[in-house]
Amino acid sequence: MNIYKKIIISIFVLLFSSWSLSEELILKNAKIHTATEKGTLENTDILIRNGLIVRIGKNLNSSRAKVKDLSGKVVSPGLIATQSQLGIVEIELVPETRDDRSEIYSAGLSIDSAFNPSSTLIPYNLTGGVTLSLTTPSSSGLFSGLTSAFSLSGSLEGSLIRSNIALSANINGGEDSLAAKIQLLEDFLDLSKFVESKSTFDMDDYEFFMPSSANYSMRDLLAINKVANKEIPLIIKANRASDILTLINFAKKKDIDLIIDGAEEGWRVSKQLSKAGVPVILQPIDNIPNSFSELGSRLDNASLLHKSGVKILISSHETHNSYLSRQGAGIAVSYGLPWQEAFNGLTKNIAEVFKLSKRGSIKPGYIADIVVWSGDPLEVTTFVEQVYISGEIIPLKNRSMRLKDRYIGN
């Protein structure tokens, strides 16, 4: 029996076994925010089979399915946390609980092996409606490191969904000119291409490329090379309007995929961002001119960017309360961003920009990461009532709830 026959048989066996063991679930009579072009559906059912959404419609039936009546409840795809350190930070001011920084590696830091699915932050943020985290290291140099996508199921095995899918960089802070940092970015991209073009590798041959103070290793160069080859996007923190324009032109010149994180003065260059197709990761709640690079920070930034056609991703930028991205989205709505767009910014837009296939929407064929809410997911008085990850219900219990149960009514 050749290898192909073996594969075909094993696929058949797999299909058959999954068919016979298939689990079905129908969520009935819910208000569904689909995060698709269909928008919000009233009084609708979702059929889930083997962890996938199979069908969405009225009065769905299946003899094999378990049925949950969700009359009066609101259902949505699980929220996706971006630029968070979920799973790699426990307490910010306790360095020994942090795995989000490195002085050894820069661009090449991949945090996959340090991710802790049992972190107390994971069930806590799940209780807030987050089912997936784009966990990003936060080293303070030019490069912070590589982002990976993790499920918040809490499962010790299998939480990693996609590895090393974006590289983060900082051009603000420190004593060096912003111009020097842009040049250094360019040098790194060029060096990675140069190294790639050579059949043999001797680090000494390439030292003339870089300033002597620029520390890097082969691992770092390989990560940068993925950006240079457009395999992954480069996320750069930037707020000042002129800096954003500089980066748009830089990305065009170097032919790389760019995402701007922050973009507090984005409204001043919204047309250019839109034309270049550069998405932005916003923290809509922050209108403080914290530095001279964000003097134009304002609460209707999200709305103005959207009006120009910029794709908006919304983050809380606060790992412990990653789920509060939804409050930020609500505030953006109160300052003019359409509700559906705000909700897409927490789900669908993030999945699209980071190429997380079959996630971020409630759609046939998509993975059933679903949250059941007591009301409007963007409203501060709304709570999560149930969470499904890949169609499996995840018990909502976290350490904070245990403490509350111990002390309440004392």
């Binding site: 307490i91 403080i288 530095s291 501060v380 509350k404 004392n410």
Partner: protein, 460 residues
């Protein structure tokens, strides 16, 4: 014995006189402009006294609330504001702010909140650091903040005096000072002082070092008070023969606490530390007014209620320090409902972002409590950001609720203030509209904001 008591009494009286002479410096120069008569009609009103008026009117006259209720009639000369479909609350009060002392932009050159050169700096006053042109202040005004309390930071065990300010544009800090508000003293438990000084191999480097430091300071304060009283109890002739005890800025502030004139605002996260602080207050016979950042207040909610101490809390911040690890969403509700709902819960910000929406933070804390089984109405939860902080700052006779005779610090909201979608429409400070959604010239831009985007455009 009787003589001694009389002497002590005379002594205390003269200390009061002494401090009143000294307090002529740095007095409030704030005077609101005349509000005229303003009649706000048909609003849904959360009064701050625990009541809700479904459809009521408010009459403002000469900067004060003249009348409130369903039956209030419009005087002929009053300006009318139709607030049908709108909500009204008292002006929001943030009991924990660093606006002005940690202004935006956050630059070292104006980062003036922590005199972190020595763990006991009772002699410094936050008001002497306040930059009145901090662009964070008008943002807070748009969030309904009419009064805020500025504290020194928490690097020090005893950090210095706090100051209560009206949220108005002024060239001087004296022009913002809340008239008649008592001074406060910032103290800090836990990780911050021991991290700052322990990191330099100085005391305190432990929590027990923190506590020893407070007690030593109070012992010195008692000694200073005794010297003052002894001097004041002498006859005029005897006084002429010797010098009065020389002024000591640090000990004057601490004696102000022992005399009940200065209110303790104590940064303290952990339950056991708050309990220790209450014992120190017993040992030296002073009162702790409020524990700030009281992440674990829910663990000792009954003790706080028994002692009449308020807890100022966040709705959901946690995890930035080990002492902030045990947060529960129900914290404020548990504190509020302790001992047959006699607890004093406050929601505070400690943040220029959070101060803009204390209403939403209170909403989160209220709904967490109600989901856990309490029945806390909005009319009570609004007190967490109005009357309760006013009480904890000693200004509840002047502001914090919509009652006849109080300052007309009033907010009109375009919807339920306990919703993420609601915003303020008008904010009155002493009856004067300082923010009006439909008037682009409000709130008044700070000097910093003029021409800062480019020479023609101001920051918003």
């Amino acid at each position: 014995m009787k003589k001694l008591i009389v002497l002590a009494f005379v002594g205390i009286l003269s200390i009061f006189q002494l401090s009143s002479k000294e307090s002529e410096a740095f007095e409030s120069t704030y005077k609101p402009s005349e509000s005229g008569n303003i009649f706000i009609k048909d609003a849904r009103i959360l009064t701050g006294t625990g009541n809700e008026i479904l459809r009521g009117n408010i009459l403002i006259s000469s900067n004060k609330i003249k009348a409130i209720g369903k039956e209030v009639v419009k005087p002929l000369d009053a300006k009318v504001i139709n607030a049908e479909g709108k909500w009204i609350t008292p002006g929001i009060i943030d009991i924990h702010s660093h606006m002005g002392v940690y202004p935006a932009p956050g630059l070292r050159s104006s980062s003036d909140g922590n005199e972190s050169t020595s763990p006991i700096t009772a002699h410094v006053w936050a008001e002497h650091s306040v930059w009145t042109q901090d662009p964070q202040m008008p943002l807070a005004l748009k969030g309904g903040i009419t009064t805020f309390h500025v504290l020194p930071g928490s690097a020090n065990s005893i950090g210095g005096r706090g100051v209560t300010l009206k949220n108005i544009w002024s060239r001087t800090v004296q022009g913002m000072k809340f008239p008649g508000a008592p001074y406060t003293l910032k103290m800090a438990c836990g990780e911050n002082p021991k991290r700052v000084y322990g990191g330099r191999r100085n005391e305190p480097s432990t929590r027990m070092g923190n506590v020893a430091g407070y007690r030593k300071a109070w012992i010195r304060a008692q000694g200073y008070r005794n010297r003052l009283m002894e001097y004041e109890s002498k006859s005029e002739e005897a006084k002429e023969l010797e010098y009065a005890p020389s002024r000591d800025l640090e000990l004057e502030t601490l004696v102000g606490v022992l005399n009940g004139e200065i209110l303790i605002q104590n940064h303290c996260y952990r339950g056991e530390e708050m309990s220790v602080m209450l014992d120190i207050a017993k040992e030296f016979n002073y009162k702790v007014t409020t524990f700030h950042h009281a992440i674990e207040a829910y663990k000792i909610a009954d003790i706080l209620a028994e002692n009449g101490v308020c807890a100022a809390m966040w709705a959901d911040w946690w995890g930035f320090k080990h002492e902030a690890f045990d947060m529960v969403w129900e914290n404020a509700a548990i504190v509020d409902q302790a001992n047959s709902a006699t607890g004093c819960a406050i929601i505070h910000s400690d943040s220029a972002v959070g101060i803009q929406r204390l209403n939403q933070e209170a909403a989160k804390a209220m709904s967490a409590g109600n989901r856990a089984g309490y029945k806390i109405p909005a009319s009570r939860a609004i007190q967490w950001i109005t009357l309760n902080p006013a009480k904890a700052l000693g200004i509840e006779d002047q502001t914090g609720s919509l009652e006849v005779g109080k300052m007309a610090d009033v907010v009109i909201w375009d919807g339920n203030p306990f919703s993420v979608y609601s915003k303020t429409e008008k904010v009155f400070v002493d009856g004067v509209v300082l923010y009006d959604k439909y008037d682009p010239l409000t709130p008044k831009a700070t000097d910093f904001e003029l021409g800062i985007i480019n020479s023609e455009e101001d920051r918003l």
